[in-house]
């Protein structure tokens, strides 16, 4: 390759080539197509090496945070902004005569606010059990093992609120004027007349909502006042909410000797809050109410938690390594012994059952 061409090419790479020289170079390349590949590779290497060593750990964390933000917002079906109710109240009020408003207000105080104690109805299912409840409005709730549901005597008066810990399947009686809300520790699920499943066990890292019919909205508690942050779900979708991100492994920064220790503590908070899966088969996530437990690529550690709930047993690991084994399959009416036998054969491990305690260990050869 000619020295002149090299000189011109470097000028181009450095971004200081004149338009005439650039045209000359372009014409030369078109006349020498066998050289294009070479120069193209030089150009790519030139561009690539600009990035070398450019992303330090600190920047990487910021990029992670940015990525989480994008993932969090990308699949959201944004609801149109709804004006605060006060906006309408103030406008409606304006058309009433002051006296009418006053009498309305007084009757409201007299009639609708009776001097009554609010009482709570609570239902708890122990491990190894399930129950079905019909709420005052006809809504059906299936409560999975080790779950707890609570609603007040005011249920159905203005709205329909239930508090849930654990897992439940809801078949909500249609009533567009009274919103049905499932409160979990960190998210609210709002429904009008739908069939859906909510799983929120305190020992699990996620809160999962699966929608079968109708439409529901999922809101994070901390963002309750920001209506636009509601995730609106369509049927056959599943929203997984992550309670907290796993700890970041400590990163050592050898390039940055001047690092300020105060800044190092100020770590960007990353939170990947929602994951939305579309076009899922909701049956996989709701079959528990019919007695089937679907397991899809789950670690033995997580599977153990589910088995503990389903069979009211305690599972202990003799070998930590076993926790990472992954299983796929389904369980229906098997006894706990049959399940352990299936695990033993599939993963070639050993177990001991003693009353309600089960120990898992590596197989002795």
């Amino acid at each position: 390759m000619g020295k002149k061409i090299e000189t011109l090419f470097l000028a181009y790479l450095e971004g200081r080539i004149s338009p005439e020289d650039e045209q000359f170079l372009l014409d030369w390349l078109k006349r020498n197509p066998e050289s294009i590949r070479n120069f193209n590779e030089f150009r790519r290497l030139w561009n690539m090496s600009m990035m070398a060593g450019k992303l330090d750990n600190r920047e990487l964390e910021l990029e992670w945070k940015e990525l989480c933000r994008k993932i969090e917002s990308a699949p959201l079906v944004k609801q149109r902004t709804i004006r605060s109710p006060y906006y309408w109240i103030s406008r409606i009020a304006a058309v009433f005569l002051l006296g009418a408003v006053m009498s309305f207000f007084v009757s409201y105080l007299l009639l609708i606010r009776p001097n009554q104690q609010i009482t709570y109805q609570e239902i708890t299912t122990p491990a190894g059990a399930k129950s079905q409840i019909t709420l005052p409005d006809g809504t059906n709730v299936w409560l999975n093992a080790k779950s707890h549901i609570k609603y007040s005597s005011e249920y159905g008066a203005k709205n329909r609120i239930v508090e849930l810990e654990g897992e439940a399947f809801f078949d909500v009686e249609t009533n567009p004027s009274k919103v049905f809300i499932v409160r979990t520790s960190e998210i609210d699920v709002k429904a009008y007349g739908t069939v859906f499943n909510v799983k929120s066990y305190p020992e699990e890292n996620t809160i999962e909502t699966t929608l079968l019919e109708g439409k529901i909205g999922v809101t994070r508690k901390e963002l309750e006042n920001r209506k636009s942050d509601e995730v609106v779900m369509e049927p056959n979708q599943r929203v997984v909410y992550y309670r907290k991100m796993p700890e970041i492994p400590e990163v050592t920064s050898e390039n940055d000797e001047t690092e300020n220790p105060v800044e190092a503590i100020e770590r960007p908070e990353q939170k990947l809050t929602y994951l939305i899966s579309k076009g899922i088969d909701p049956h996989n996530f709701t079959s528990w109410k019919d007695g089937t437990l679907f397991i899809s690529s789950e670690t033995l550690e997580r599977l153990a938690v589910k088995l503990e709930r389903k069979y009211d047993v305690k599972i202990h690991f003799r070998d930590e390594a076993l926790k990472n084994l992954k299983f796929t399959g389904s369980l229906e009416n098997e006894t706990v012994e049959q399940v352990m036998e299936a695990i033993r054969i599939a993963a070639q491990i050993d177990y001991e059952i003693e009353d309600r305690d089960i120990w898992l260990k590596q197989a002795n050869n």
Binding site: F42, E63, E66, K326, T328, G329
Partner: protein, 184 residues
């Protein structure tokens, strides 16, 4: 009738957030370097990689074979970068020429995921290759690429002729081309 149907599935299924974060930490710098080879723009490269990772995460439940994560990501980044529309209106004729050449090339090459299997830690490989350059050449190349100095300024700073700087930069590029052939 039911039957026990539990089996070990070491390589199947979706990713956990922990696994996704591990992939991010390992791959992000290399994917950015790879994208910038096509884009010559740090911000645009990051955009492309972020977009690819967003899609990857959203669809990761479909992931069948975790061994294909890396080649899949490289392939996706390449295609997204080739189709990236630069916001700036002014583009030099040579930039356009090379972009079209790369796009044309990718329609002729075998672009199956398996063909990206050899790609791994591009960032590490690139840095290692630069470190292997002879001292003077490495110094010049770093001044040119890391500090974005023009070759005349490098010549002045080192008290050598611009011609020598030019030659050294080309020799460095030639060496890198040999070393990083499988990424090109």
């Amino acid at each position: 009738m039911w039957f026990l149907s539990l089996y070990v599935s070491g390589k199947e299924g979706g990713l956990s957030v922990e696994e996704f974060r591990k992939i991010f930490l390992e791959m992000y710098p290399s994917l950015c370097v790879y994208a910038s080879g096509y884009l010559n723009d740090k911000e645009a490269s990051k955009d492309v990689v972020q977009e690819v990772l967003t899609t990857f995460w959203a669809e990761n439940e479909k992931l069948k074979n975790k061994d294909l994560v890396k080649p899949y990501l490289f392939k996706a980044v390449k295609h997204k970068a080739l189709n990236y529309k630069k916001r700036e209106a002014r583009k030099s004729p040579l930039d356009t020429f090379f972009e079209e050449f790369n796009a044309e090339l990718s329609t002729r090459d075998d672009e199956s995921v398996e063909n990206f299997m050899a790609l791994d830690s591009l960032m590490d490989d690139l840095e290692a290759a630069i470190d292997e350059l002879p001292e003077q050449r490495r110094k010049i190349f770093r001044m040119s690429r890391f500090e974005q100095m023009k070759h005349k300024d490098i010549a002045e700073a080192l008290g050598i002729s611009p011609r020598t700087v030019e030659t050294q930069i080309f020799r460095a590029l030639q060496f890198l081309r040999e070393r990083l052939k499988h990424y090109l």
